[in-house]
């Protein structure tokens, strides 16, 4: 039983950042802008917010600090993503180019600035993890569920699920969501109905920036005690989750859970007696999530549902 609790809790560490970032990517792509810059956006979000955490250490409670850090991360990601928005919306740039540029820029910038602002010109930013909630008061005593979801958790797990629900709601139920989807499928149609495609696309990219930034923080916080200008390719994995999830919130959750769970198994098998006793090299488990994804894709990709206009700069004059 403990193994189950443990696996669920650990799975969240992988799943939540992937989920948040992939949802961010969803908003961008659904508005018609391919956002390959997620990796860089995560890095930037993690960078500023962890710098923030470091400089405010001891001034406030962990949870408050975390909330503020999330705001910092989201704001950073949003600002940073505006570079991508400007290039791909105003300049009609090739979106892969601008995204790749941001991916290159972020770590270099994070290292450069970290060295400028920290004592000893250190590029790593140390921080103290005071954010874990051992037990959610009241809820943690519910049998099974309490242990599963309300002990040993991070606030960010709940935030992640909240973002999922809000995202699905916004995308499918609101006026903004309807217009966003229209812009990603047929911007000319949206334009001819008086919808400002540029504005909607800016919103889409900026939401993805915000979520990407938050995702960066959420990714780093529970897994280390310092930040070294990298999010280890999780931005690209989030992209994979997005495609795997067919640009739809519920399926993105499934894909993120799949990845999270596979990664957890790959990392935790040595603590799980049944798996440990099989003595399979860890490299095997490390490869499994990727191989499994390939296999699943093989069966599901025939009918891809990428937003039609995604990746194509919108030009008012074009028909």
């Amino acid at each position: 039983m403990n193994t189950v609790y443990f696996l669920v809790q650990q799975t969240m560490l992988f799943t939540i950042p992937l989920l948040i970032v992939a949802l961010g990517g969803m908003f961008s792509e659904r508005s018609g802008v391919v956002n390959i810059a997620l990796e860089g956006i995560m890095t930037m979000g993690a960078f500023t917010s962890i710098l923030f955490v470091k400089f405010t250490e001891g001034f406030m409670s962990g949870q408050l600090q975390l909330l503020l850090a999330i705001i910092v991360a989201g704001a950073t990601g949003m600002l940073f993503s505006m570079l991508h928005a400007f290039a791909s919306i105003n300049m009609k740039a090739d979106q892969t180019i601008s995204g790749t540029a941001l991916n290159m820029f972020a770590p270099a910038f994070a290292i450069f600035v970290a060295r400028q602002v920290q004592a000893n010109h250190v590029q790593q930013i140390d921080f103290e993890n005071t954010f874990r909630i051992v037990k959610v008061p009241g809820l943690s005593s519910i049998p099974f569920i309490g242990k599963l979801f309300f002990s040993n958790v991070y606030l960010t797990t709940y935030i992640g699920f909240a973002i999922l629900i809000i995202s699905a709601f916004v995308l499918y139920k609101t006026r903004f969501g309807l217009r966003l989807r229209a812009c990603g499928e047929h911007p000319q149609a949206a334009d001819s109905l008086g919808i400002n495609v540029y504005k909607i696309r800016y919103s889409g990219v900026m939401i993805s920036g915000m979520l990407g930034g938050i995702g960066g923080l959420v990714f780093i916080l529970p897994i280390s005690t310092n930040f070294n200008a990298t999010v280890s390719g999780y931005g690209f994995l989030a992209l994979a989750v997005l495609i795997f999830g067919q640009w739809k919130p519920a399926r993105i959750l499934t894909a993120a859970l799949f990845f999270g769970f596979m990664n957890t198994i790959a990392a935790a098998y040595s603590g799980i007696p049944f798996l440990a006793s099989m003595h399979i090299p860890s490299y095997f488990y490390k490869m499994v999530p990727y191989i499994a994804t390939l296999i699943v894709l093989t069966f599901t990709s025939k009918k891809s549902q990428a937003p039609k206009a995604s990746g194509i700069p919108y030009d008012k004059g074009m028909r």
């Binding site: 090739d94 540029a101 450069f112 490390k286 894709l297 194509i312 074009m318």
Partner: protein, 427 residues
């Protein structure tokens, strides 16, 4: 109708003679080259600003170092530039070649790794091949890279699996596979350094005299091979029926199928060739000198990602990529010498990122240049009182329809835009 046409061709002929030079000039100015130059200047300016902010005292000399540092030790440092350019020419080609056929090969890093792996296997365990060992090693690298790209290619062609996601998966699988194999096969493994074992002397790519010219540097014949391959790719893409087919599929899969081109085969082949190129890059790097080893580290090889930058900066054309790779290696070399001042070399990465960012504006920049040129021309014509029929001689274009490609990977956008000349003489 007929008369119209005749008069038009007459004026055209006149135009052609009188304004040949100005036309040529216009063409150069409005080509991708200017746009890239613009991006490079902006990138360098950004670098200068950062230098000024970080350390005003040394900013100017630091900037000078970035620009010309790669000459600071004469031919030796130029040789090192070539040495660093070698693998990224290949991965750049791998990405750019796939772009040309409408595929985004983010898997160059995995293919590069597999190429390196195959080269190292041959290099460590096939010394019986004698002086052919390095050649066989490179061939093995090419094959391994090709095989690693084959699967995403097949998946894309036959099952519509998005090549971005499948190659990301292949990257990780390749990395883990190589690390596992290297560290578990004794002949491949050096315990003491936790990296691949020493390759034999005969597996090292010969220098072909490069060590004489660029004395003291690590450059070798691998550089020449990379350059030749770039030229070969240029010929294949632009001059052959095969390239004709590949590009057609890249632009319009349906039309290619209609024209009897086996588009599935083309997609698979294009991916495979891209993989072969990346694999070659791995081979060239890891057989380039005795002192290069595959480290058993769970980190994706950066050369593959550099390839994306190189391809983008080179506008996905083989020759553009060649120069882009040389340029990036050049300023990285400058950045290396920048360490003599109080600056960290991340500045170079920032500069490159900025350059790539601005190179994404090429469409806009070229539009602006053309508009400016045509505006000047119109004014000149108006002044000369020429009889121009409703702007029919004007040579300008709008922002055009670039990026109207099939899906998100309309990377060729920048390149495509180049075709978008106006129909100046529409009767």
């Amino acid at each position: 109708m007929k008369t119209d046409k005749n008069t038009k061709s007459v004026t055209d002929a006149q135009n052609q003679k009188t304004c040949f030079f100005s036309r040529w000039f216009t063409k150069i100015l409005s080509s991708g080259f200017t746009a890239s130059l613009f991006a490079i200047i902006l990138g360098l300016l950004t670098g200068l600003i950062i230098l000024l902010v970080a350390n005003p005292g040394q900013a100017v000399s630091g900037f000078f170092m970035i620009m010309f540092g790669a000459w600071s030790e004469g031919l030796k440092s130029i040789g090192m530039t070539f040495y660093y350019a070698t693998p990224i020419i290949c991965t750049g080609l791998a990405v750019g070649f796939a772009f040309k056929t409408g595929l985004f090969n983010i898997g160059a890093t995995g293919q590069f790794t597999m190429g390196a792996f195959a080269a190292v296997i041959v290099g460590t365990s096939c010394s019986f091949l004698g002086s052919a060992q390095w050649i066989v090693g490179l061939l093995a690298a090419v094959v391994a890279g090709a095989l690693w790209a084959l699967l995403p290619g097949l998946l894309k062609a036959f099952l519509n699996v998005h090549e971005v996601i499948s190659s990301i998966m292949m990257n990780y699988i390749g990395m883990y596979l190589v690390n596992y194999t290297v560290s578990n096969v004794p002949i491949l493994y050096n315990q003491l350094t936790n990296s691949s074992a020493q390759i034999s002397d005969t597996a090292v790519i010969p220098k072909f005299g490069m060590d004489k010219i660029f004395a003291g540097s690590a450059v070798n014949a691998g550089f020449i091979i990379a350059v030749l391959v770039a030229i070969l790719m240029h010929v294949i893409l632009n001059k052959t029926t095969f390239g004709f087919e590949l590009r057609a599929v890249g632009f319009n899969r349906n039309a290619s199928k209609y024209a009897g081109i086996n588009e599935k085969k083309s997609i698979t082949l294009s991916m495979t060739i891209a993989g072969a190129l990346a694999g070659l890059g791995g081979g060239l790097l890891f057989l380039g000198s005795l002192g290069k080893h595959i480290e058993v580290v769970d980190v994706l090889a950066s050369e593959g990602f550099d390839g994306i930058s190189v391809a983008l900066l080179g506008l996905s054309t083989p020759l553009g990529i060649l120069f882009a790779a040389l340029f990036i290696a050049y300023i990285k070399q400058g950045g290396f010498y920048l360490q003599l001042y109080e600056f960290s070399k991340e500045i170079i990465d920032i500069i490159i990122a900025v350059i790539i960012y601005f190179s994404a504006f090429s469409l806009f920049v070229r539009g602006a240049i053309k508009r400016y040129l045509s505006y000047k021309k119109e004014k000149a014509e108006a002044a000369a009182g020429s009889m121009g029929v409703s702007g029919s001689t004007s040579n300008s274009i709008g922002a055009g329809k670039a990026g109207n490609g099939s899906t998100g990977n309309s990377i060729a956008g920048a390149g495509k835009a180049g075709n978008d000349e106006s129909k100046g003489g529409s009767v």
